[in-house]
């Protein structure tokens, strides 16, 4: 047993190191990797967020804050709809749980593929509404949107119900 420990370390010496020297070589990110946030506009440039507060209510860390504006007509459709006056995310305490994206009924809030850079000041980790819209234009979006995630959830629910029925039968 004693000799085996020595053999293991000796064998390792001749194996290829597994280290990625981070800034010089970057490990390829998984296909579904996502972090960081962005707000989106529709094809006419109108804000998608309707200020429904669903994201603010579900955020486990309570770091997402929305200020809803009164309803008014949309310039595109002419129908009355909600608006968000302000939406901020303090990513200092963000868990990355993506629940805010999952509940978004209009797919306005998404996560981005590029990570937030390490910051020198706490304020830089605070994502303002302007910054979120800027991210939406500048960064690649993650695959997940509210409707996609909710659709998957529904499928799961349906499957489970069918299974339950089969078991009952």
């Amino acid at each position: 047993m004693t000799l085996r420990a020595l053999l293991v370390t000796l064998r390792n010496v001749f194996r290829r190191p597994v280290t990625w020297e981070f800034p010089r070589s970057v490990r390829p990110r998984p296909e579904r990797y996502r972090t960081g946030f962005a707000l989106l506009r529709d094809e006419h440039g109108e804000e998608l967020c309707i200020g429904c507060l669903a994201c603010e209510k579900i955020c486990p860390s309570a770091i997402l804050h929305v200020k809803a504006a009164p309803k008014r007509e949309s310039a595109v459709t002419g129908k009355k709809r909600g608006w968000a006056e302000d939406l901020t995310i303090d990513t200092v305490a963000c868990l990355g749980c993506e629940l805010c994206v999952q509940v978004c009924p209009t797919d306005a809030l998404v996560m981005t593929r590029a990570p937030e850079r390490p910051a020198d000041h706490r304020e830089e980790l605070f994502l303002t509404m302007a910054k979120l819209y800027e991210n939406g234009l500048a960064r690649e979006h993650g695959w997940a949107t509210g409707t996609k995630l909710m659709g998957m959830q529904e499928d799961e629910d349906k499957k489970k119900k069918r299974k339950d029925k089969e078991v009952a039968a």
Binding site: T2, L6, T9, L10, N12, R15, R16, P17, V18
Partner: protein
Amino acid sequence: MMALLMGGLVGVVALTSILTATALGIWFERKLSARMQTRLGPTIVGPFGLLQPIADFLKLLQKETLIPDGADRLLFVVAGPFCIFLALATAAFVPISPDTGLGLDSGLIFVVAFGAITVIPIWMAGWASRNKWALLGGMRAVAQAVSYAVPLVLAALVPVLLAGTLSLDGIVAAQQGFHWFALWPTFPGLPAFVLYLGCLLAEANRIPFDIPEAESELVAGITTEYTGMRFGFFYLAEYVHTLVGSAVAATLFLGGWDGPIAPGLHWLVAKTLVLYTVIYWIRWSFLRLRADQLMSLCWRYLVPAGLGLVFAAAALAQVMP
């Protein structure tokens, strides 16, 4: 006057070369340990990360050196330099080539004595820190060093008996022409060599005998309260101790500077490096022994084994002059 100046100059050169060797030794150990864990180790500072120990040294110099409230200030400050002084002083007695060396007829006694008093600065640090972890670490270090000094000396007595002299030059001279004590006579030479190497690990507080440090139990043992360069002294002393200890082991059992073709110093350095590598190979492969296992291993197995080897060597020395 000239002699004094020359002595000082030689001293400076010797110290610089030992400390440089130690810095390279630290780099080598970090690279080796990294490869043993399929990592890369230092790569950024200098070619292959060779300047990493210098970067570490500069970092330690910049750090604030704290002295805890209620610490014994004088002992606390003096312990580190004292520790490294003793580790370096041992190097003075190692014969590096046929015509250098102090020519003492009892060099081995000095080597063993300097190795043994290393517990004093360690205990100074443990006591002066006024910290329970440091105190426990210091107590463990003393218990360990005092116990393991016995089999260490017994193992070192084997080459003394075989060579018939306490002088390190004499011991090397007796091993001329591949007559190394670790190889011939195989008994008691080889077991004594293994015993010596094991006790050397304990003397230098290296795994599997590193309970004085025992990160998982004692934070950092005696160095818990030390910061900056004051910590650096202990860190450096440990590596110097291992390096010089390897050189002494190479002198006693592997024929020191003896070897064909290349000059003596090359052979000594090569042998030292091999032993140094083995020590760190062991370090990165094994777990730490428990304090009671350590004591029982020493007094119940190693000391009787050492005594047996000494008797065997004495008998052999009588039979073949």
